[in-house]
Amino acid sequence: MAKAQGGNLSAYEELVRRYQRRVYAVAVRIVRRHDVAEDVAQEAFLRGYQALDRFELGRPFGPWIARISANLAFNHVRSPRAREQELPQEHGEMPSGQEGPLETLLDREASAVLSEALAGLPGEQRAVFTLRVFEELSYQEIAETLGISAGTVMSRLSRAREKLRTAVVPYLGRAKGKASVSR
């Protein structure tokens, strides 16, 4: 990181390789289009390089660059042009093939429905949900990243979760008995 801050392009290229998947994932979850997410990720790394002098050494680079990507993606989905081009079904996320505790509780159909519901969310709500669930940012961090108030984060996240719950709740019956719903 110190080398990259000193202008070493090879060092920064290594950082890009290390974090490109995460940066791209944040973008594609918000914009829902592969080509747009590629552009967003690329722009995020460029802006990250330009802002490296403000990055504090010792802090994790991943969340920092992911937030830049989320901001760019969020600005994209808010633009009128993006609303016209919204293709919610193009890159819906599919359940992973990995076996895990929840995979045994939730069938693939539930995952497909949830993916579709996520794609159907307004971009602003999807951005908030992505940053909270996938990036585990606090409301304040989300607010700072997206340039909105913490109250707006709270309300948008609540509405997003309610829509997703409504979409998948018919498929959660089998999971209910297996997955813990306790706090």
């Binding site: 392009l9 998947r21 909270r132 998948v168 719903v181």
Partner: protein, 295 residues
């Protein structure tokens, strides 16, 4: 039982509620199975979302594309700094060169024609610093008008003073002398001035020599007379004899030559309306004057 807390369940799940609100929701959940169930479903949605893989990955060349754009951006930013550098260099040159020219110019420079010669001053100055010249007359510090070592031939050609202007000046300065020659009737064919641009340096020296001779001859009184009469003598043998006697007297100042000159002149002037009468009378007068000075 209080009202349902559906709107606050998301923030309760994220532990983002203020303490007071959180206590209220906690209390409500203990007595409301509906809200508790909904909270469990929200938690399941999050868990389900986390199982969704972002199976789409960025292109394999993303890092290379980022680097290429960064390098391009760097290239684009370099010209912005170049003008600053060149401007600084130009400022230094513009401030130093005039100073060196002024420093190089000798006091007598003001009388010299202003030409491109001065552009060579910095280089000459540098040469002098490299090899300090011994104490020399100030005039030697000034470069020869047409030769400046260390400069390219093309520069020397360009910086050479214009011969037209200098020669024209000389011709004007020499005009009185040339007039004296003609007035003295030296007899030498004074060719009209050659085109100034083609006039070489030796011609000026020759002209100076001529003007000196002419001045002496004019002071002698009959300086140009023999040659002038020789021109006429080619057609008049009597006049040619008079001229020969005058030249002989001029050379040796011998009395017999003077007597011969006077005798021939008297004979010549006896006949009226002779073409060279005036010339002969001048020769006689001059010879008489010369004889008086000799006494």
């Amino acid at each position: 039982m209080t009202a349902h807390v559906y709107e606050r369940l998301s923030a309760f799940l994220d532990e983002e509620l203020p303490d007071a609100d959180r206590a209220d929701v906690d209390l409500h959940l203990e007595s409301c199975p509906e809200c508790a169930q909904r909270l469990a479903e929200l938690r399941a949605v999050d868990a389900l979302a986390l199982t969704l893989s972002g199976d789409a990955e960025p292109g394999p060349d993303l890092s290379a594309r980022v680097r290429a754009r960064l390098e391009k951006s760097r290239e684009a930013s370099r010209p912005r700094s170049t003008p600053w550098w060149w401007a600084a260099a130009a400022a230094v040159v513009l401030s130093v060169v005039p100073w060196m020219i002024v420093r190089e110019a000798p006091p007598s420079e003001s009388s010299r024609p202003v030409t491109g010669e001065k552009a060579a001053a910095p280089e000459k100055d540098a040469a002098k610093q490299a090899a300090p010249a011994p104490a020399a007359p100030k005039v030697q510090l000034a470069p020869p008008p047409q030769t400046r070592k260390g400069l390219s031939p093309s520069f020397n050609r360009a910086a050479k003073p214009a011969p037209v202007a200098r020669d024209a000046k000389k011709r004007t300065d020499m005009a009185p002398i040339d007039g004296a020659l003609e007035d003295a009737g030296s007899g030498e064919a004074f060719s009209p001035p050659a085109p100034a641009a083609a006039a070489p340096e030796p011609r000026e020296e020759q002209k100076a020599e001529r003007s000196d001779t002419g001045r002496v001859r004019a002071q002698a009184g009959f300086a140009g007379a023999p040659a002038a009469s020789r021109r006429q003598g080619a057609q008049d043998p009597e006049l040619a004899a008079i001229d020969a006697a005058a030249e002989a007297y001029q050379r040796g100042r011998r009395p017999e030559d003077l007597r011969r000159l006077r005798a021939l002149a008297d004979e010549y002037l006896r006949a009226p309306e002779r073409a060279g009468a005036a010339h002969v009378r001048e020769l006689l007068a001059a010879a008489g004057a010369e004889e008086s000075r000799g006494r």
